[in-house]
Symmetry: C2
Subunit: 208 residues, 2 copies
DNA sequence: TCTTGAACTGAACGGGTGTTCAGATAGGGT
DNA sequence: ACCCTATCTGAACACCCGTTCAGTTCAAGA
């Protein structure tokens, strides 16, 4: 029965990862069995081991791939910020909008990326943490620069970075594409809240 | 060996719930076995069934108890807000500070409350969702009133409610009691960010 | 046409799962 | 001193787990 039309390694491999992503996001890593993943792909459990050495690696590959995509997508965004002036205010706005848009396009990957970290081996966990930190540092640099220029009123850039990312991540818990608000509208509202939450008060002295 | 000193139902029952809370928070509901919980208590697995009809109920009892405590603690906070003037600004500040303080005191319960919802039966899930909504409505009412009085600049009170709670919940992912910042300091920084993120711009017209 | 080997099956491995229950144990009431 | 019963044990139940592997199938290369 092997080697049916269109059932080569190039096709089954991605299907295995897609099935794992879907099921891990829906039920959690620990609650999903290799047999369930295999059934979703339409294959016996043993066949999965042609595409992953074990269940744990299947998870960490998904997470590393996702985090890699986040990092390179944000890198690709930087030139566009420069093109629009490149100040901390433009950077912060771009970050908020990028984060919302990018993450809403991959809700399952984002979901498991912060739900299933504890199911990684220490080595895999450390690697993921480093990537996450790199992403957060991108935001913190914007805050640091804005603070230095007196544009932002931020007492602790590290805490603020985490608080802003938490707020932005929250969109995943409720956003539905067919919902009341359009993606653009959601993006704008979040970008506005982010901007206001760190903006320095306009000094009355300047106006008076 | 039964009925050792101090090993009555009144004592073992709470110990079972405490062990389950600890292990569920650390490893996740699906990854923790009844035998592990029993071992933590110092008892055989069968004995757990004197204190819970099944594993699922053990989880939902923990979640419902926690959510009940959140709601009643917030109710108890309301008179104190009234005493301090009772406006939307005072209410919002009180909510942020209450949320941070209360949740940091129960990190494990909070953790499982938004990680393990999917492991509940639909009935138990619905009950929990209703309680969570009631809590969120407390915050939204503050925003609605502040918006009506022109104190807050909030285009969508529902979205803003969820965004603010997400931001406040984020504190759990990084706060360590022995860390760099004191609880009071963290509380103040978050309360400040919350306040600024919804505050209406001071109109230059008023000043000029 | 024959051979090769990638892709997959299906059964098996040892071990863990939630849950049940007959029986042992021992503190409190009489 | 005795019994009662709340409490707990330890074994068993049927089933599911991740992983391995000998064997089967069949498209492609020679």
């Amino acid at each position: 029965m092997a080697r049916k039309q269109g059932s080569h390694s190039d096709i089954t491999g991605p299907r295995v990862r897609a099935a794992a992503l879907k099921l891990f996001a829906a039920h959690g890593f620990a609650a999903v069995s290799m047999r369930q993943i295999a059934a979703e792909v339409g294959v016996q459990a043993g066949a999965l081991y042609l595409y992953t050495p074990d269940k744990q690696t299947l998870l960490s590959d998904l997470l590393e791939t996702h985090m890699g995509e986040v990092l390179s997508a944000w890198q690709a965004e930087l030139p566009r910020i420069e093109a629009r002036g490149g100040g901390p205010e433009a950077g912060l706005d771009a970050f908020a909008r990028f984060h919302i848009r990018f993450h809403l396009a991959r809700p399952q990957a984002v979901f498991i990326s912060y739900m299933e970290l504890r199911n990684l081996t220490p080595e895999n966990f450390a690697k993921l943490e480093a990537m996450r930190k790199q992403y957060e540092d991108g935001l913190e640099q914007i805050l640091i620069e804005g603070k230095a220029r007196g544009l932002f009123d931020v007492s602790d850039t590290k805490l603020t970075t985490l608080a802003l990312i938490s707020m932005l991540n929250g969109v995943l818990t409720w956003y539905k594409p067919e919902g009341r608000l359009s993606l653009d509208r959601v993006e704008s509202i979040y970008a506005d809240m982010v901007s206001k939450s760190v903006r320095a008060q306009e000094r009355s002295a300047q106006i008076a």
